[in-house]
Each structure stands twice: as structure tokens, then as C-alpha cells.
């Protein structure tokens, strides 16, 4: 990592510690018994746009906000740390709407055709989607129908608009 990034992190952390207060006494299980799944997208500050504080909710983030990709984390969240609600957020202008798994596999392999190790990319499903609202509905259904997710879980599905900062409930 560049020394500028390291220094940036350390300076920001110093500032954060000044307002840390009594957060050190927070326990591991989230106070709101809530897990939020959303995209890794840099434009999303989910803690801010949902008004969450340290201690409130598990935040799971991956490319697209995929529920399938989040399953390992959700099982740990529910079975060991007591969460009982899940909110899935996908967002407008998401990178996942712009490519297919086949295309990305080809990009990776073409980057160095002599590198046999790159063929491992053929084992990865990149979980892209073609329709934003439909992808939210499918992810909610995936969780509602998955035997490893607790049956009493309340699952909602949302769209976050990167253009406006607004949220819309889909499910």
C-alpha cells in the first residue's frame, strides 16, 4: 500500500478516536438484531444513509449486495449473534448491471494468456444481474426459501439511488 494511504488511515483514525466516547463497552451481538446487505460501491455510506450507530447492525457488503454471497455471514449473524431481520439493498448505476460472468472471465484470461493460473476464474460465478428491481426480489426470495436462514426472519428488499441518496422499498 502506498505510504500516503497508510498515513491517511492513521490520521483519520486519530480524529475518530477523539469522539470514540464509550463505544468500547459495546457488545458483539447487534442491538437492533438486524443485518443489512448492500453493495461495496464507493458511493454508498450505508451507516449514514440508514442512520445507524456503532453497535446497531451487522453490515455485509459485496459486489452487488448479493444475498447468495452473504449466506455464510448471515448464518453466523443469526445463529451465533442473534439477528432476526435482514434488509437487502441493491442500487442504481450498479456495476453488476454492466457485464456478464462470461465476459469478465474472458477479460481475466485475456490479461495474460500464458498464465495458466488465470483459468481458475472459470470456477467463479460473478452473480451479475440484468434488472435492478428483479434482482432485489430474487435475493429476498433466495433468503426466504433457503433452509439455512431462520424461518422467522423478516426480510425486506430495497433500492438505494446513488443519484439522490433516496431509498425505495421493493419487498
Amino acid at each position: 500500500m502506498s505510504s500516503s494511504t497508510v498515513n491517511y488511515f492513521l490520521a483519520a483514525s486519530e480524529e475518530y478516536q477523539k469522539t470514540f466516547g464509550d463505544k468500547g463497552s459495546l457488545q458483539t451481538p447487534p442491538v437492533k438484531k438486524l443485518a443489512v446487505v448492500t453493495c461495496m460501491d464507493s458511493r454508498i455510506n450505508v451507516v449514514a444513509h440508514l442512520g445507524l450507530k456503532e453497535g446497531d447492525a451487522h453490515i455485509i457488503r459485496n459486489a452487488g449486495g448479493s444475498a447468495k454471497d452473504a449466506l455464510r455471514s448471515i448464518i453466523i449473524s443469526q445463529r451465533l449473534l442473534g439477528t432476526r431481520e435482514i434488509a437487502i439493498f441493491h442500487h442504481t448505476k450498479c456495476g453488476m448491471l454492466t457485464f456478464s460472468t462470461d465476459q469478465l472471465r474472458q477479460i481475466v484470461k485475456d490479461s495474460d494468456p500464458a498464465d495458466e493460473g488465470l483459468k481458475a476464474v472459470d470456477n467463479i460465478d460473478f452473480l451479475e444481474f440484468a434488472d435492478l428491481e428483479d434482482s432485489v426480489k430474487k435475493d429476498v426470495k433466495f433468503l426466504q426459501n433457503n433452509p439455512l436462514v431462520l424461518k422467522e426472519t423478516k426480510v425486506t428488499g430495497w433500492v438505494y439511488e446513488v443519484e439522490t441518496g433516496k431509498i425505495r422499498q421493493i419487498v
Copy 2:
């Protein structure tokens, strides 16, 4: 989802929109060409403790802050959206230090021994770890040695202390 959570989200979003400013013009590739991987733990407000703003960095979060679990997202981040640095954060008092995959599989199956669907849990590696600093070092190595991660990537490894809000660079 409980109506109280829905209402909480909607009210918080109204507040967030008031200070949204010109964030709607931000583009998809992160400005800092940086991806941060950290745990889903509710006590971690990674955007705040690293002083990041909307648009700066991809934020990938899962149980433990596992690099292996983040690989799909990292490939998309690097190959399609131009990031070239990765910072891995694990944290003190992490739930991943407190159980084994075998134990959690048994907890899930024992929750309803008549439910055959629960046996699917035997296919999940929960990626727990026994030593915090060692887990950071192993995740950095995993990325440095993985053929699907760009060779020129700068990877650092850190511990976040939930007791103090401090960060420590390990690698």
C-alpha cells in the same frame, strides 16, 4: 421486517438527503483506487474510522473480514473498476475467534433434527480463525499469492481495536 425498522430507515434517509449535496455526480470507479475488506461487526464504522467519503473506496464486509470470501468482489473491483490497493482489517473481540465450523454446523443441524434441508450447512466453510494477527497475515498472503489478484496490487493488513477505535498495521 418490523414496521419500526422500515420507519427508522425512511426517517434516517430523509435526514441523509438533506446533506447529500453533489454526491449524485460521483462516478462508479472509486477515486482512491482502493478496496477495504473488513468484518460485518456492528461496532465497526469503517467509513468513519478511516475518514473515507462517498466515492473514495470499495468497502467489502463479511463475517471476519475474510479475503477468501471477498475474492469475487475483489476481482470485479480490480478488473472492471480500477482499484489497485487492498487494505484488510480484522478486529479484536471478533466472533470468528469463538467457534469452529464443526460446532456451528452442529448448532444449525441440532436446531431442527427433522429438517433434512439443514444438512446443506455441511458444505459451508465458516472461515473462522484462532489467532487474530495470524489471520490478518494469512489473508494478506492469500491475496498476494492468488493468481486472480493483479500482481501489482499493494496489500496491507491491519487490526481494528473495538475497545479503543485504534488501528494497528500488521503487514
